[in-house]
Symmetry: C2
Subunit: 312 residues, 2 copies
């Protein structure tokens, strides 16, 4: 059996023709994400699938999207896709255009499934995959199964309160993990500090533009004090958040990926691990691991979730 | 089909012969928990089952225990049962004595299953049952299934960090939910305050003995300032803990039970609900409900989990 996986991102759309048993890609196509709204995006996806698998070899198509997906494959909104601010029946529309079953999933959940079956979570049936970039998102595998939650929103660890009455998050609430560990939250805090007269190397490196993970890595390497403080704060917040989820769900492993983790790497993971405390009286059994499917987690996971639907 | 359910508690053992479809008990027996160690407890359970179902009508026996249960039915330790401080092969021993399959489960998980199928969680497939008494424990139903975790320890919300660098918990770590919302934590704090010269009504009502839920209710009713503060602190901690779990797992409902909840009732629940904030951008869909199976949650849940093993 072959499956097509599609990973819809804010800047590009990746697609692969995948063997869901060996995880090997036997074909790949990509393009920039159209900016003309949901219809232009769906047309682009149809075009990619036809380019990749015109012969219809794949029985099913899996699509990962950066937004909230309900059980009928309706995508409520994708904050990072231009013009996608009301619900779109992605599954129904793509099935009509492609003439085969389409499985639509959240992209973070796709990443978690890919790490579980073909990455750093192989053989571990109770795990969280945590992606740290502009924001912080997570996907949960419990008892070997992806957990989606009552509305498809499970895994939203970025909005866990880790510091009571702490920093304001992008969502408006206080003390959330994402306000400390997400790049957007670190950027807000560094600008607040700069406005209060405490400029950092980050202000200099970005000259008012968005902070990228490489800027943070560079400022750290150059020994910038405020950047070290921001990163220490993120470590504390991640350690509390990961410790909480690992305790409540009795996890065996947390896999960390995303731009910030890819850039700061194992030393950052070691710093988080050193700050972890697991609650209760049980021995510590949860470890941390770097994600392994750096570029293809989304596209592979989308394909695997689609294959499940055929097999299951 | 009939099933025997057994609920092993620190002071008494309850047992019932249950119809797992109608949830009705067609027979019940109970006794005080023996204090002669695990063997005396297992003998007592065998005696109760034989009294209740000498004819062997029940195909299977479910036992809920207040301790950590592994997948082979070995119970590591039960802090509240005299002499139970090393692992006991409960399943193997009871099966040998009773001549039928025995399913051993954690008592809090039994309670969660009973509330899900026959209590305040009926029809809700993503829920947590939270029990607040001396300590704080929880059981999780996700996608309609009980989540046990990698070691059978899932649901340990009492040891979630809710106040960074906060009060010391019974486990030695800081800022855990149980340190604020469990009776033992409230007792430690009230004694600390009393030693510092701030005696409360609780000191007077308990005259050095353990604080019971009714003491807290009485001191509250009499307008004791410190008790009000302790309860407000517990509300804040519960609101953070519940909000965090509901956000990460996208829960639809949290069912609250246990001695403190039974005593303080709906006004306490309303206070917690008023302090809840759900992270992220989704609409709030998680509600709070009082547990409904006050006396028989453990025994019914143990029976239902045993029946599953036969049917499943």
């Amino acid at each position: 059996m072959k499956v097509v996986g599609v990973d819809l991102g804010g800047t590009k759309i990746l697609s692969r023709l995948v063997d869901p048993v060996t995880f090997r890609s036997v074909g790949r196509e990509k393009m920039s994400t159209p900016t003309g709204g949901p219809k232009s995006v769906l047309d682009a996806i149809v075009g990619l699938v036809e380019q990749l698998d015109g012969a219809g070899e794949a029985e099913v198509v899996g699509v990962g999207v950066p937004g909230l997906v309900d059980t009928d494959g309706v995508v409520a909104r994708c904050p990072n896709i231009a013009g996608w601010d009301s619900p779109v029946k992605v599954k129904t529309k793509l099935e009509a255009a492609l003439g085969r079953p389409v499985v639509v999933s959240n992209d973070v959940n796709c990443g978690a499934v890919a790490e579980h079956r073909a990455g750093a979570g192989k053989g571990v049936d109770d795990l969280m995959a945590l992606f740290v970039g502009t924001g912080v998102g997570g996907g949960l595998i419990l008892g070997g199964r992806l957990v989606v939650g009552s509305r498809g929103m499970a895994g939203e660890i970025g909005h866990m309160t880790v510091i009571d009455d702490g920093r304001v998050c992008g969502c408006g609430e206080r003390g959330h993990l994402e306000a400390y560990a997400g790049r957007a939250g670190m950027q807000r805090e560094s600008r607040r500090l700069a406005a209060a007269g405490r400029s950092s190397k980050l202000t200099e490196l970005t000259s008012g533009g968005p902070i990228k993970s490489r800027h943070i890595a560079q400022a750290l390497a150059e020994g910038d004090e405020i950047t070290h403080q921001l990163v220490d704060d993120s470590v504390k917040a991640l350690a509390i958040g990961i410790g909480n989820v690992a305790t409540v769900l009795d996890l065996r492993r947390v896999v960390l990926g995303g731009g910030m983790i890819d850039r700061l790497g194992q030393p950052y993971l070691d710093q988080i691990a050193g700050s972890l405390s697991f609650g209760g009286f049980g021995p510590t059994v949860c470890d941390l691991a770097l994600a392994q499917r750096i570029d293809d987690a989304g596209v592979l996971g989308a394909a695997l979730l689609a294959a499940d639907r055929i097999e299951g």
